[in-house]
Symmetry: D2
Subunit: 332 residues, 4 copies
């Protein structure tokens, strides 16, 4: 496979689009995503559910498809500015011998199915059908009142390869995590807020989580309470807590099929794009990832959703993460 | 009518109970009280609606009855501790030649219809049917998520007579408002939080407002937003704001029939019951009733709901209140 | 020691008062209690710190004394209605051969040092000096903005003995926790909100935690953030979370000497005192103590503060609590 | 003056920068802006105060200068991407015969003082000194905890001229307000959230208000409370309320010199930049500007801060705005 570091792909990503994932029980997922996250159903047929956040004009930011097999991810969605840019995108993937082909997707303009340099299946388009914003229809709001799709995090074995690829097509490096100098995580941006794309070094490609912005901490607790009341109380996996690095309150929850979602409060704006990336070393830094409280449990690190029909590669072994389990052993 | 100041009635009020009011369109009131206040319907027939707050175990704190006439108040409800106390209550009203008689009211134990010394029609009982608390069923909560009935305010021409009456049957004076030494308002307590009963000197008896406790300011705004979305945006009469005297954020809203309701945040606790009443003079005090912002508009002072079949008396003329209208004239 | 179940002590507790605890570094404790909890210093000398909540009129609800030994608790404080009741209290303790003596305590009226039937050292008085309420001085508020002292929880080996004692002097049983029918926890009330006194069956008497009411979830997070920023991030022991039984959001934090404090949101009001106690069995109930999320870590159960010079007794062995550590083992 | 509609100025604005205003008492302004808004002082000398929001990396977003004359505005600040763009900007203003000259400003890179086509004095630069973000230093946060500068609103007599000018240098039209077809207000964007620049048709140029983003409604009330406590309670001019058009909760406050500031909650993101502008007609629309509650008082419309040494022009007379005063007359 070609080295892309010297030859930037001649197109620019504009923003994240959506994710496409599988579940085993569509009605259960409707209930979870509308009652807990507070997403709105834009469209639904017997096999597919199209969801959007309360302030989103685009038709969907989450596509949930019924499967009779193990629930996995199908694709991560990206957006380019217009149809012309989409043509350039197609040519760039071809030129670099990465898989790509035109497909038809409901409610989207012409769409490209492509595979990035790490093997992640992508779905790229320039336009989607429009829907009304519902952020002002307060009295219908439910659960976390999720406002908009914010970011996703994927684990891959080679962080640097992913970084070279995505920075060549319009992403900026916002922050790095290193372990004794070796990069183990990278936070990439397209919009003005941290972050759009996060890659962590582990076996992959596999989907760790996607994040939605919610209005306030009351909404976060309402989501947790709703999970408790609807029988998913144990799926509140980690938090509520506060990221020391990411500048945000969070909670990580698991949907009924085990897909992980982060709910987070309105982010800071990076108004000064010429800031150099912030490097944070997990070994030498005095700061931990959390501003206070306990580290995540082991499942938060190990459990991820594979992509359908994608081979997972394991990175050279590194240090074990500081899990809650390890922390409790040490703390005894 | 007898002077009660020397001869305390030999029974004790325990707490406020409920209010009974009339509306012209019951379905509209269901919508208002469940979507805006977030009250729960305990029971409903074609003419009457029984509502309670989310944490209330008693069957109802608000009874809404259909009328084909002008919408008024029927009765203010009070509670005594047990049936024995209720018997004492009956005898005390009889002894003082105040109207009282046993009646049957659905969902309530034996009930007394009586008239207080100012002419206010009362409904007094010791017990009500029980309902489950719904404060933990968060995902069903709506609007202001009203938790519990808190207090009511009535205008009457003689504050001192009312004060003597109610302090003789278990109320404590928490605060006074005076105008150049003359009492124009009194705040009475039975529970540990300010206030239960408020009397203001004006023509009356007439009902000014009742108040419900709501969990936080997010709930207050959700109530206002819901009113805007359901076509009652102009019925957000005053606030959100903060009482300088009453230690609480508030908003005053009007139901579709013009009955006024205050939504207020969880109150302070008066843990030291031997505090003397606080006296606050509207003329000489540097503090205004509001911590910041504008005074209430004229309608907030003048508009009240009469009691059905009750004659209204006018007090000796006093100074005009500082209305928003008067304030804007002065401020020009 | 006499059995008190048949012969009620002829006096009534009115409310909780305060707690008296030891710390090793008074300046550090000033910083913790004013910046994290947001308590106000009513008075301070070189060895003692008197603190109160923002809405409290009483001089102190927390007394912090410097020690050069291991930091423990000195006394749990209770209040009676007046000096006459305090005399009755003295005679009752004497009659039942429980230790009691008059002492002088700064800022308090005449004070009784007594020992309850479980061996817990008490400090009982009727009056305290007054301080202004500071709940309205919003711009000076810090951290959790703790409003008022709410409850305390003590572990003792014999729940039933404690229950008989405290119900005989004015407490009501609000809730029970049982394990296969055997009472392992009791929640007692004096005020209208859950709870005042909580006893759990374990070795004791030992102090598990005291609780303060805070205004909203924003205040809870501000306390956690402040702990992270001041170097106490690991002392956020458990939460933020929600009690399924106690109707409240909570966080448990440890002060720099390891004393545990619960911060909780404004509680529900038990407006119907004739409700029978709610019994909740840890073995047979479908509900867990938490509405969602993980159980407390082992230290939350095992770590408590002993009382100075008090012998700890161990109860007959019972089942192990469901700790976070045990949960993570099972969940693997 | 040249018509710019056909010949776009060959440079692009990147974002708003800051505003420069005068006050008569600098210490009073320090108190107002740090205690009420919660801004941070980046630098201060005896005549000038440099302030920034809690998450801002740029040295200042608000420059407050002492004056012995009437307090006015000096300049509205804009930012371009880099020094090269700043050169292009200079040439563009020269080419169009608009005043512009290089000046030195402390803490800013090379700076251009220029005048826009409506006569508004501008201060344009590409870089500023950096300061640490303080958004995570929660325990030091005060008042409204203002996070970042968001937008400003200026009144001018010719909306269409301003629109042509600013859209030619990188602004997009987000929304229009019309009165019976005639444009009376325009909302312009550079960042992804509504709005950056707002122009209303009235006599001008004059400064109506600038806005800061605050984290939540608790912060808004803390700002109002602080104003009440520090003696500025009457300067809470309008709100808290909710814009029906602007998708946001707001409060308008006046600083001690009468300069108006809006505090607003985190905005929605316009993720679909190809949305056509939304047109909203004040005459024919069923929706009012406010989601609920009362209209602004007359001063909110009429009171604005002039720019120093700038001549004000009056537009052709239009309809009177719906002020609170007019509303109360009608509503009587």
């Amino acid at each position: 496979m070609a080295d892309h570091s010297e030859a930037p792909l001649p197109f620019q990503l504009r923003k994240l689009g959506h994710v496409v994932l599988n579940v085993t029980d569509l009605e259960r997922s409707v209930r979870f995503y509308t009652e807990v996250l507070g997403l709105v159903v834009s469209d639904q047929d017997k096999d597919t559910l199209y969801l959007r956040g309360l302030e989103e004009r685009s038709h969907h930011s989450l596509v949930v498809k019924r499967t009779t097999e193990a629930p996995m991810y199908e694709r991560a969605g990206l957006r380019v500015f217009d149809e012309e840019e989409l043509e350039l995108c197609k040519r760039a993937f071809e030129q670099h011998q990465l898989p790509c082909e035109w497909v038809e997707c409901p409610f989207q303009g012409r769409t490209l199915h492509a595979t990035d340099i790490c093997g992640t299946p992508l779905e790229i388009c320039a336009t989607m059908d429009r829907q009304p914003r519902l952020d002002m229809d307060v009295y219908k709001h439910k659960g976390a009142q999720a406002r908009r799709f914010d970011h996703y995090q994927i684990t891959i074995p080679d962080i640097e390869k992913a970084t070279r690829f995505y920075t060549s097509i319009g992403c900026r490096v916002a922050d790095y995590i290193t372990a004794a100098g070796h990069p183990v995580g990278v936070f990439l941006q397209m919009k003005d807020t941290p972050y759009d794309l996060v890659f962590l070094e582990r076996d992959g490609p596999a989907f760790h989580h996607f994040g939605y912005i919610i209005p306030d901490i009351q909404a976060m607790l309402r989501a947790c309470d709703t999970m408790g009341e609807l029988g998913w109380g144990k799926n509140v996996e980690y938090g509520p807590g506060k990221h020391a690095v990411g500048h945000s309150y969070y909670v990580y929850i698991l949907d009924p099929d085990g897909h992980r979602c982060e709910l987070l409060l309105p982010p800071i704006v990076y108004m000064d794009a010429d800031d150099p990336p912030h490097v944070w070393d997990v070994v030498t830094s005095e700061r931990t990832t959390e501003a206070w409280g306990l580290p995540p449990r082991e499942s938060w690190f190990s459990h991820r959703s594979p992509f359908r029909n994608v081979t997972v590669t394991v990175p050279p072994a590194g240090g074990a993460p500081m899990t809650l389990e390890a922390y409790l052993q040490i703390a005894q």
